[in-house]
């Protein structure tokens, strides 16, 4: 049934030009990051690594969480309008699959955005005549960032489901992103969901923030992801459905 749920989520997104935002928005940090890189060549000497920090700093700090929050908000908003929650919850589909179907949709867009950010990174790198291809470890950063992003996505999906308001969870995401930035400088960075993306992307320093010690990071991502999913399914199962 999960497969059908995922297919349905895809059908529901027909005629919603959400993807345009996900194509356009990453271009901005890429372009500005490149500009910043060129302006500070005297300071930034680690080539691909320096460019990576310039391009991903703001993307993963201030930008990813609110963007994915808008997407999550939209997925629940179409259910909140016109009493579609009634419809959805009277379908012979396990509650778990309803939530996971939406999460799969979010995971897909997260993955595509990450790939797109990486493609832009490579393109701009070639444009500023960095040699060869970026080191594979940067690709690993992007993969780590995707997992961190998933935890944030699950959190936002849960918030949008419970709060039933479109704007509020997005505002929460903005505050989360800022507090995440502050937390990412502390020792507890891997414990705070909004920091995970930043830490995973290794967005604000040239040396690896995790120093090869990626296991706690992946455990934290997995724990948060599982926790948010479990809370969401519990909520859907045990509270009265309001249309």
């Amino acid at each position: 049934m999960l497969k059908n749920c995922i297919l349905c989520e895809k059908m529901k997104l027909r005629r919603s030009p959400m993807w345009i935002a996900f194509v356009l928005f990453p271009v901005v940090p890429a372009a500005l990051g490149t500009g910043n890189y060129l302006n500070n060549l005297a300071l930034l000497k680690s080539e691909w690594f320096s460019l990576w920090t310039q391009e991903t700093l703001f993307y993963s700090n201030f930008f990813f969480a609110p963007l994915i929050a808008v997407y999550c908000g939209y997925l629940w908003r179409i259910e909140n309008r016109n009493r579609n929650r009634h419809l959805l919850m009277t379908m012979p589909v396990p509650v778990r699959d309803i939530f996971l179907g939406k999460l799969a949709s979010i995971a897909k867009i997260t993955l595509f955005t990450q790939i797109w950010v990486f493609v832009l990174f490579v393109l701009t790198g070639r444009m500023v005549s960095l040699s060869g291809m970026p080191p594979t470890v940067i690709l690993l950063y992007a993969v780590r960032g995707t997992f961190g992003g998933l935890a944030v996505a699950a959190l936002q999906l849960m918030l949008s489901m419970m709060i039933r308001s479109f704007a509020t969870p997005i505002a929460i995401a903005v505050f989360g992103a800022v507090t995440g930035l502050l937390a990412s400088n502390s020792r507890y960075a891997v414990c705070y969901p909004y920091s995970l993306m930043m830490v995973g992307m290794n967005a604000n320093r040239s040396e690896d923030i995790l120093q090869g010690n990626t296991l706690p990071f992946f455990i934290s991502c997995a724990v948060w992801l599982a926790l948010f999913c479990a809370m969401s399914v519990y909520y859907l199962k045990h509270t009265d459905v309001r249309a």
């Binding site: 049934m1 059908n4 749920c5 297919l7 349905c8 059908m11 529901k12 027909r14 005629r15 919603s16 179409i78 309008r81 016109n82 009493r83 579609n84 929650r85 009634h86 419809l87 959805l88 919850m89 009277t90 379908m91 012979p92 589909v93 396990p94 509650v95 199962k237 045990h238 009265d240 459905v241 249309a243």
Partner: protein
Amino acid sequence: MERNYVIQTRNLTKEYAVKKKAAETEAGAGTSRVVNRVDLAVPEGAVYGFLGPNGAGKSTTMKMLLGLIKPTDGDITILGTPLTSSGRSTMHERDRLDILRQTGSLIESPSYYAHLTGRENLQILCRLKNVPESEIDEVLALVRMERQQNKKAGKYSLGMKQRLGLAGALLGSPKLLLLDEPTNGLDPAGIQEMRDLIRTLPQNRHMTVMVSSHLLSEIDQMVDYVGVINKGQLIYQDSLLRLHEHSRKELCLRTDNNNRAVCVLQENGVPVQIEQDILSFPETKDERTVFLISALVREGVGVLRLWERQKSLEDIFLDLTGKQVSL
């Protein structure tokens, strides 16, 4: 004759917590009982009319039957499967899905994805219900909206949305159909069509239908069984035939001097009502009728006509609920 019940509830109760201020006005502080110890019994193959004024608890009851909201107390058994029982705090996911697989529903106003066409809406439902898409044409024909299927649902009139909702409920030929005020927003011709359709469902498609309404006249023409709910309590439940039989007859009288006649009848302790020159009072025993008529004649009142009248359903309803319900 022994009948199987498709829906059975025992002591079904739903309470909501209310804020202090509101609670002070009611007896039970802290909670308000929206559905109060309802024992529903919907026989297989019947069209069951669920009647009650707005806010009586119809939608809440039907939502509990679908597992959308959780009862505070009581048991629900649908199609032989227990959905909830008072021993268990929550329903079993497997039982819930079992029931939902065999149930179609239309609760409150219809649900639809406004940015998708009618057909696309139904395609989503087919996937979720695991029903082949070939059924779409069939249900679209049943509700007569083949021609509008490729228009966006958001642009439909309320009546069309209602039809789309019904089409969605019919997908997968469920054994049980729960329809909450399905004629809302339909024009008179549409209401008639909907009624005709619902009436044929038990025979042609072997469905049991539970349909709610606040309009008695609407239900009168399509249901076999009636449950009447008011202020959360089920105040009547039986066949429509019995409801008509149960209704007390009254005697009507036309005289040449109504004022005098009223005086005479009231002196004899008869609760008489006068409406458009016609006096009416509850049916009495024959001897007492004879006595009353002779009393009238003795007092010089000329009796022109005397006849027996069946109470209309509206009147019965009024008696049961104590308030005017038809809007």
